[in-house]
Symmetry: D2
Subunit: 139 residues, 4 copies
């Protein structure tokens, strides 16, 4: 069992390229936005920015997406996101994009670790996923 | 007299829209990048991020750009940037974009203030432009 | 009298910069998105892409925006857009961004011309604004 | 043996997020830009846009990237790209990002198919990779 959140995105004119279809990095923006909303729905703050700087949260270690159907300006896509794997410090969020016909347009995942900043923004230390985060995202 | 810096940008596939020409917010990214380089050339750090958070620098108060010639994927544009006006706390940077033929493709400006953070990231206090900044950008 | 449309945007994590506030080119993306929606509300297609290529529509000749209050990740802004000036071939759309408190966060405008493609994507010919467009956007 | 191309990217202020490090979709923009340059170096046009519309080229079917070291504003990364696999219609481009110390900052790949447009922009038909493309990208 895992908490799911859904997020509707509109394919904007500026998301598309000269071929008239979505420029693919946009799907990764939408994945990131959808993870943000999954945390919100779970009652969690994804990134601890207290004191004006990033202190703790889930930075990416890997991301991938496969593209099944090209989408065009004005289309609406629904992204369904949930945590599909919990490790000790790392976890995977799966994102499924469906178009208005219900067909899968794209399917991606993000692998993130739970980390705290030590020193500068480049020095992150992985830590176990907090129990509260694990519990709330499990739904 | 003002210090000028020039910066070549390549119009990328992902900078263009379904009409096959630059999606206009890209020009503002290029203006911001060019202001960053103008500070670098002057031997200045544009934004003080010491201690892991933004402390002082020149946030935007206004930006504008006029577009004369549409550019396409693969074209190279040269942006020439300089401070065209110094006030007490505010200053204006003018950016001129020329294409490979030397024609002006776009012309923009950014009005920025010198500011320090007080409290959270939204609470900025304008302060006089530091003498060193004024002197170095004057060339 | 002019037709108004309103469009809510969420300030995303990826719209913000290391200072923790909106990276300003994002406001221009939102202006463009809002113009797209204004046309939709008027029952118009903004860009004629029939036959797989851009044929007719309102490219930008100038854009400007002034920034009053910095916004942060997760904030919702409402953009209110309307045509504030009609010329023969050119027209201006005014965009007002308000934050959750109702305060103006930013205020911008786009000046566009009505144009048709002649030859390649860079060769645009300005034409009078079609009566139907003028009428429907006048509300 | 495969043709390699290298492409230096500067991490821009606007490429970074409130944690002060690269917002990850930027890596995919850089992968796409690097594939574009690999084709250029091979003396090939990646996308056939003759007649003002996309007709033939290599759209994405999948992309992935793993992130090893976070990068910050002003850093320069060198992307080394080459075709690491040729199928009949599909092929994979591998992209390795190194920072100024020579360490791998990120490593990604794009899987693309060779396709022609049939009908609208969403209807793509995969075709065998042209011999000339295969030969020139093999170096």
């Amino acid at each position: 069992m895992a908490l799911h959140s859904t997020h509707e995105v509109t394919v904007e004119w500026g998301d598309c390229d000269p071929a008239g279809i979505v420029y693919y990095p946009a799907y990764f923006r939408w994945c990131d936005q959808s993870t943000f909303r999954l945390f919100l729905k779970a009652g969690l703050t994804r990134d601890d920015m207290s004191g004006g700087q990033w202190r703790e949260g889930p930075p990416l270690v890997a991301a991938e997406c496969s593209f099944r159907r090209a989408s065009q300006t004005g289309e609406k896509l629904v992204v369904d996101s949930h945590v599909s794997r919990f490790g000790n410090s790392s976890f995977t969020i799966t994102h499924v994009f469906r178009d208005a016909t219900g067909e899968i347009a794209a399917e991606g995942s993000e692998t993130r670790i739970w980390a705290r900043k030590e020193g500068d923004a480049r020095t992150l230390k992985s830590v176990p996923i907090p129990d509260e985060v694990r519990k709330r995202l499990s739904g």
